[in-house]
């Protein structure tokens, strides 16, 4: 899932301090699951903004809404009237949702309330970590289901480097496991250690974002 977190309030306040009518829109898919931009977070943020603006902008009108999934136009369509009736839209969706709103309502001013960070999984309640950076050419079959591109701080395909200590990555030993320790342990458990003797050649990064923003067209699906 996409994981995001709320921007510092000072940043959000700076963007809305002179707004008359503000529409705060949440999204009930990924960002609700990571407790950043769902319906509840919309309520909390709106209340915080009202408190933060009561000296400088006490007459601000804040409308709270939330949408099933902000990256799909058919769900956003129900916002058309609200958007027309407000000066600024503060979207609590991930970057995709914010951009979808902006594309769908090109005369609207749409600001993000979140910093979208990564594709990852929940590890335990309140903790999410990155797992996939969308390289476009999945090699998880070669590394025991642990992604070296995403989880190794240096994206080494023939790791580890000298900074692996006690199974942790020297970049942030408290939070980052050494991906190559994980790979080694996993491959040992599934009896595939010998595969690590093979040299993985230089990666073709053109399938990733390095090759430019990507698009997938399923011709069999387009009428």
């Amino acid at each position: 899932m996409i994981v995001a977190e709320r921007k510092p309030l000072a940043e959000i306040l700076a963007n809305v301090q002179n707004v008359n009518k503000l529409l705060v829109v949440g999204c009930n898919t990924c960002v609700a699951v990571c407790l950043a931009g769902g319906e509840k977070e919309v309520a909390v943020l709106s209340s915080a903004l009202r408190i933060g603006l009561r000296d400088t902008n006490p007459n601000i009108q804040i409308t709270q809404r939330s949408i099933e999934r902000q990256c799909e136009e058919e769900f956003n369509a129900e916002l058309a009237d609200d958007i027309a009736a407000h000066d600024v839209v503060l979207s609590m969706a991930c970057g995709v949702g914010v951009q979808t709103l902006a594309e769908q309502f090109p005369t609207a001013i749409v600001y993000p309330a979140l910093n979208t960070t990564f594709m990852g999984r929940p590890e335990e309640r309140g903790v999410w970590s990155e797992r996939c950076m969308g390289c476009g050419n999945c090699v998880l079959d070669k590394f025991g289901g642990v992604c070296p591109v995403t989880r190794c701080s240096k994206s080494l395909l023939n790791g580890p480097c000298g900074g692996s200590e006690n199974g942790k990555c020297e970049v942030d030993p408290k939070n980052i496991d050494c991906a190559w320790q994980l790979i080694y342990d996993r491959m040992a458990r599934i009896g595939q250690l010998d595969r690590l003797l093979e040299i993985e050649p230089a990666k073709d990064w053109s399938t990733s974002r390095h090759g430019g923003p990507r698009k997938i067209v399923r011709k069999d699906m387009v009428l």
Binding site: C161, G162, G163, A202
Partner: protein, 316 residues
């Protein structure tokens, strides 16, 4: 001969090699480089020029290596994968070869979070093993990574690093085997303070016959003081100075007395590793202490350094 470099000739001939390090300045100040060159001249067979070590920006290894060539001291250029993609790396290697650089150490490179530009974009287009593979192909097949013929020759003696002390321990020898398979010619290890662990690593290396497929130089580092030893333990990943050695340093006293003890300990370590099967030389990392090289190499009984005779065709 892969490159005809002095280092290669020394190792080929069976002489125990000595390499040292020169840290380039944090700017284009060549005066600092000149001073260090004169401290090292005649006291080692080749000198490593670090490449933005610990992600702190310095005069480039390529430029510094060129200066050393001009001044008649043999460089080992270092290249990390952190800062350059494969295009820039190949262009810099063309440049190095054109300027007479003949030794290259291929490294992954410390992450930029450790240095003075932590917000920089990550490159790591290649890892160190893919880099070794690419350079070997450039040299032996005359082709770029993309497959185009190279105009001119890239005669580089290819080195890599090895860390006998990192985790996972079982995997370290496998990684060395991969570097050998990729085409590495020589290895410089991380500095040795834990002699038993190094001996165990070498035993496994020799077991696999890897010592005959590449030249292994043992890394050593002279300690300047007990404080320096403690700093290393606290801050440098991959190096652990045992308590006994820290105590020896603090017992020795301060200033010049501590330095003398540190150099003596280093010379002793060199003599120890010389006895280990498979070790073909030593790499002395006297960080910002190039003046220590001459005394250490002398105490270790390794002076004078041989000058390899080069015949008309460029072979020893």
């Amino acid at each position: 001969m892969k490159s005809g470099s002095n280092l290669e000739r020394i190792l080929e001939s069976g002489v125990f090699a000595v390499t040292a390090e020169l840290g380039p300045p944090k700017g284009p100040d060549l005066k600092a480089v000149d001073e260090k060159i004169e401290l090292l001249r005649g006291n080692c067979d080749a000198v490593n020029l670090t490449d933005n070590q610990t992600a702190i920006v310095r005069l480039s290894s390529a430029a510094t290596a060129s200066v050393l060539v001009q001044k008649g001291l043999e460089p080992v250029m270092q290249m990390t994968c952190r800062d350059r993609n494969r295009l820039a790396i190949q262009a810099d290697l063309f440049g190095a070869a054109a300027m007479g650089v003949r030794n290259l150490l291929c490294l992954t490179g410390d992450h930029q979070c450790f240095g003075n530009h932590p917000g920089a974009k990550n490159v790591y287009d290649l890892d160190s093993i893919q880099l070794i593979q690419m350079v070997a192909r450039m040299r032996d097949e005359g082709l770029t990574q993309g497959g185009d013929p190279i105009e001119g020759a890239v005669p580089l003696f290819i080195g890599g690093a090895a860390n006998p002390f990192g985790d996972p321990f079982e995997f370290r020898v496998i990684r060395l085997a991969k570097k050998v398979a990729a085409g590495v010619n020589f290895i410089q290890t991380q500095c040795i303070f834990d002699l038993p662990r190094f001996k165990e690593w070498m035993r496994r290396v020799v077991d696999q016959g890897l010592h005959e497929k590449c030249y292994i130089l043992a890394g050593v580092m002279p300690l300047k003081s007990a404080g320096a030893a403690r700093y290393i333990n606290a801050n440098v990943a991959g190096i652990k100075v045992p308590d006994a050695l820290v105590k020896r340093m603090s017992d020795a006293g301060r200033g010049k007395k501590a330095q003398a003890e540190g150099m003596k300990m280093c010379a002793e370590m060199i003599q120890e590793v010389r006895e280990i099967e498979g070790v073909r030389g030593v790499h002395i990392m006297a960080v910002e202490w190039e003046a220590a090289i001459q005394p250490i190499v002398e105490m270790a009984g390794l002076l004078p350094r041989p000058i390899m005779q080069v015949d008309a065709e460029g072979d020893a």
